[in-house]
């Protein structure tokens, strides 16, 4: 059965200018209870790879540079 890509707007947004993942930081990826954040091979910055968010906040609260913002997922907003 062929698979399609399903588009969603993701709740966690990372400010690339502030993110220091390219310098080795992995804090937001480490703390996420749902393990939905990854570091991009292309930009070296953190991003939300899977739209499976509990809007719980550790990624935002623990980010050392204030680069991460958690929004309420659109379906709940």
């Amino acid at each position: 059965m062929p698979l399609a890509t399903y588009q969603t707007s993701v709740p966690v947004v990372v400010d690339d200018a502030k993110c220091i993942a390219d310098k080795g930081c992995t804090v937001c990826v480490d703390v996420c209870p749902l393990d939905v954040l990854r570091i991009s091979d292309m930009t070296g910055k953190a991003f939300m790879a899977y739209d499976e968010c509990w809007y719980c906040m550790p990624c935002e609260a623990d980010c050392p540079t204030g680069a991460v913002t958690v929004n309420i997922p659109y379906l709940l907003r």
Partner: protein, 580 residues
Amino acid sequence: MAMDEIVDGLSEVSCDVLVIGGGTAGPMAALKAKMKNPKANVVLLEKANVKRSGAISMGMDGLNNAVIPGYATPEQYTKEITIANDGIVDQKAVYKYAQSCYGIIEELDSFGIRFLKNENGDYAVKKVHHIGTYVLPMPNGETVKKALYRQLRRARILISNRYMATRLLKSSDGRIAGAVSVNTRTAEILVIKAKAVILCMGAAGRLGLPTSGYMFGTYENAANSGDGYAMAYHAGAALANLECFQINPLIKDYNGPACAYVAGPFGAYTANNEDRRFIECDYWSGQMMLEFYNELLSGKGPVFLQLKHLHDKTIEEIEHTLHKVERPTRGLFQEGRGVDYRKESIEMHISEIGFCSGHSASGVFVDDNARTTVPGLYAAGDMASVPHNYMLGAFTNGSFAGLDAMEFADNHDFGEIDAGEIAMERERVMAPTKREDGIPPNQIEYKTRRLVNDYLQPPKVTRKYELGMRRLAEVREDMQERMIARNAHELLRALEVQSIMDCADMAAHASLFREESRWGLYHWRTDFPEKDNENWFCHTLLSKQDGRMTSEKREVQPYVVPIADDEKDLYDKQRIRASA
């Protein structure tokens, strides 16, 4: 190598006590086990990261069941919990908790976890329950996980993050022997041999589908997919009263607590569309939930949490807690909706169904030492059967589990593990990664949980349940034969949906077995609408026997604290009567 790429690998380690789940009960169990025997190896295995895992990922806004000398007695608390659970309680475990939890509060305080105190330095306990006073606010409760983590590091607990346990292993004599787990980012298998295992894997919170349709917008931490219930079941442990579902009154759509426990002591209350109270008490019980449900559906619905009558300063104080601790995005949500607590009441709704002894009374059956029915296997926290145990119960019962498990480990050697069993489990775990073509886990999960909503959520009707079970069996077949996982992360979800499916089957089976209505909305069977004490004043135990799901009755153990006849139905009188 890129993260999430599948690696075919297997390694084996061993330890004295294996604790699975690093949320609330797990860290305490690991600490207590290690303190009892500092020479022993204690491994704490966690599907996410112990720093931020579990129900208290962002802390907790208060203790909901603190039995503090001067405010409440263990006898009074035991009585209240017994009445709130329609009498189906083994009091010994509740009483032991009530006697011990004050010591745990003092210990948490020594870890640097702060509780509200009054000007004399005494704990400022508030009344929320129907009868007694047990709620201790934690306006600075955001530090709980950090404080626990410090203790774990100090005690040299071996922490393994990002490993999901999939099955328990037993030796031929029926004793626990370890667990199989899988790395959630590489899919490598790790077999852990252990003399004793403690399950602290949280609620089954991803069982029903939230009304928002967002699969991860659950009340419980969405990582809590019921893996502990499924593992205990497949290991042959008994599970108690699973028909006593957990359903909560929450902020509509946001699906987090509103939260009357925090705001109630300041004068806030649950109201209908006439701004009137309709329930006597905001404490979460099945009986209260039934009144809440009735009001939602009535002409006086929906239901609101009302704060607008309070002083500005008071509202500010409430906001400070609600928007900082436990579910801090509550403030962001209300801001997005343009809701100002000063002007508008908070619209509420009921949650999807789940299993969670934190608020109800179901779970892996344990005694007052947190022992399950499998020798060497323990359970604590939201997944174990001690009713209404909340965060403090997770800590306290986790502590009992840690102490007793270490004693068990000190007196037993490793159990023999059959290599064939490990090979079979490896094959089961990896199966979705071996298929070229099929259905992704998110579709299997959505369909399963949608069926749970359509057929299993109360009011429960036999014919609906039978249809639901047929539909679920069809999806199970798809899950077993056709589900695909294209990377390690998808495999994590594929394994979780297998736990969700097992929990759905158990919820259905347990509900059909108890042919009466009990615990208000939690087990409201409209084709058996009455409480039937003659036939059903008992626990129900569900277990896997000869490969089949089986339910049986178990007597309620003699009470430690007697309940007078005129006290038994206090929780049935939730609705405010119209007064002359």
